[in-house]
Subunit: 186 residues, 2 copies
Amino acid sequence: MSYHHGDLRRALLAAAAESIAEEGPAALSLRDLARRAGVSHAAPAHHFGDKRGLLTALAAEGFELLAAALRETRAATGSFLELGVTYVRFATTHRAHFEVMWRPDLYHAEDPALLAARDRSSAALYSGVADLPDGQAGADVRETGLAAWSLAHGFATLWLSGALPDMPELPDEAARAVLRHLTPAG
Amino acid sequence: MSYHHGDLRRALLAAAAESIAEEGPAALSLRDLARRAGVSHAAPAHHFGDKRGLLTALAAEGFELLAAALRETRAATGSFLELGVTYVRFATTHRAHFEVMWRPDLYHAEDPALLAARDRSSAALYSGVADLPDGQAGADVRETGLAAWSLAHGFATLWLSGALPDMPELPDEAARAVLRHLTPAG
DNA sequence: GCTCACATCTTGTCAATGGAAAGTTATGCT
DNA sequence: AGCATAACTTTCCATTGACAAGATGTGAGC
């Protein structure tokens, strides 16, 4: 291992994701990440400025990944319902990213790259509402989209918080069942 | 101010709620709470053991308050929809409590008092589903309840995270509109 | 009204953390 | 080859959570 790590930025993000997935964002320690990567405790500061900077990068990465997943599902299935399932699946398979994404108090919420990625996620979600056959989207596309988003988001966060007992390992089917309770028409 | 504070436990919980509502749970400092209450930095430990102990108490208090609010709404209106509105209103008016409640990594999730309070909240919520006229609740009460819970919870958390732009000051009416998108029958 | 057990709070201390400052080593561009 | 700069280290400081030991008030029983 030379003086230069080579890909420290990526290594730190990966270590952060792992740590958060295991012990939550509250227990995250920059110094611990540095130790895992085999660098000094001040090395992370060079790439991310401070702790919030690292979490900003992690959240932005999360929004990018989510947007990509949603776009892919839309292209592959064209199904409004499956878009919600993908949302929930993303939350469970990218737990660390997802948990940070909706906690603006943990990162720099004004970061341009993050805001852009967030908008791309949002656009990918709402585009699924626009796909609905005429009339099914109801009078207000924004309202229908918000309801779908809320339902998927709520199920995902409740799942992650462990508030739902007696659930199978994978939430896909449970999510699908819950999402079917949505009435597209307002 | 004598040697004994008089009601330190309550004062600390109130200060914690205020601090969290302003800067989020990540910025919470036991020593700062002690300073605000005018006691030494080690005083909180006597009442709550450690930081997680304090947050456990705060979360338990939150579940109690939520259960009470839900029961009151059910008694006053008997409306399934208004139960969801109350849920959202609780989240916005008791922001600190609500944010901690769904973050088990911040507190002692096995605490018996907390679990009991959590179950009371849950029961109050699901009782609203059981109130629905026969047939409207669908085949599975649990599933309908979970969908309603997810929808209200998702809207509330998205609202609190600031992810919803262009929203009025009070979310009541917006919440009502979103909650109407739920189909009780599965 | 005394005493003694106990709850409450303070002072002192420790290891760990985030962050800043200043120095060291590699890298890439010309 | 030389130089600006990116990448990383070492050193240092204030703050924090937790623990231990001591000080102070409180109240029950006699």
